[in-house]
Subunit: 196 residues, 2 copies
């Protein structure tokens, strides 16, 4: 469903029809469609972290020079995200849309899991970039979430923007190419700025 | 007006009341509220570039080591953006909201100015970081736009998320602190990854 339409267009009616549960029953467990989607986001995020953890050891050569390791890790993170488009769509809608129509209780539950996921991503980054200390690795994990959502939005412009890009001969933003460059810059820069 | 409410809540009625022009007259020149706000975005962006151009020479020491120059430039860009909250608000809404309800014609006009502004920002970055070649500097200028909008959204969470952060003792995202770190990482990383 998420691959067919933007998060903003998904209604609670549509969600309950799709999973075959009456809307009244969905609302017995979730206070709003935003609460459902944030729960889906955390689940998809955890699934992605497991997927990424399996790929990093083979994809990033521990004996490669620092810059090459940053680029290999950036590509691995990006490719694994591109393989999880629903997660990217939910991340792109999380701060501006999904976190708006929820109670403090749902927000706390979402934030608790989000913090755990951030720590896990920071650990995964450190597997092949042990130069990064804990607070810096966690900062990069938070920033990865931020730039993933923003790059996803930029890579899915409106029909009018697509037409404008074509008429101006501007290359469209490619999610994987752009995100990979941004993450490689962030990783290499954070290490260059770290005290030795 | 933009400092009082989020872009998503600004109506064409409210816009025309504020500038004292009948809505029918606003619509004679602009096809939608999104077209008005994109025009405001480009104007605010140009004003900000002029403001930034005046500040970089004094704020970034050309004889400082590379990492220090990256950090000084990141801080100068961030402080100048923080001094232009309307611009940040419009940037944060541009890709996900404003670019959606416009014609291909308005999109082309917006994109043309946006491209000019990106080239200008790339030149300003190069004033004190001449290590950066043209395509890399332009990439960083585009990424600056992307991370500014995303950081602005993260730094303005909903009331429920603020309550959740407080109950979990999580520090809120500070726009200036976060953006400055992200930009410094991006600049230092792009230079570390540049061919000599």
């Amino acid at each position: 469903m998420l691959t067919e339409m933007p998060v903003a267009d998904i209604s609670l009616n549509g969600l309950s029809r799709r999973v075959g549960i009456a809307k009244s029953n969905v609302l017995r467990y979730f206070e709003s469609r935003e609460a459902v989607l944030l729960e889906l986001l955390n689940t998809a995020w955890r699934d992605w972290l497991s997927y990424l953890a399996l790929r990093i050891p083979a994809a990033v050569d521990p004996s490669a020079p620092l810059t090459a390791r940053c680029e290999q890790l950036a590509q691995t993170i990006t490719q694994s995200l591109a393989a999880h488009p629903q997660l990217c769509e939910l991340i792109s809608a999380s701060a501006a849309v999904l976190e708006r129509n929820i109670s403090a209780d749902v927000a706390r539950r979402f934030k608790t899991t989000a913090l755990e996921n951030t720590v896990t991503l920071a650990c995964l980054i450190q597997i092949r970039l042990s130069e990064l200390r804990d607070p810096t690795a966690e900062r990069l994990a938070r920033t990865t979430f931020l730039v993933t959502g923003a790059t996803w939005i930029m890579a899915h412009p409106s029909a009018s923007m697509i037409a404008a890009n074509q008429s101006l001969a501007v290359s469209p933003v490619d999610f994987s190419v752009s995100l990979s460059e941004i993450l490689a810059d962030l990783l290499a820069g954070a290490i260059a700025r770290s005290p030795d």
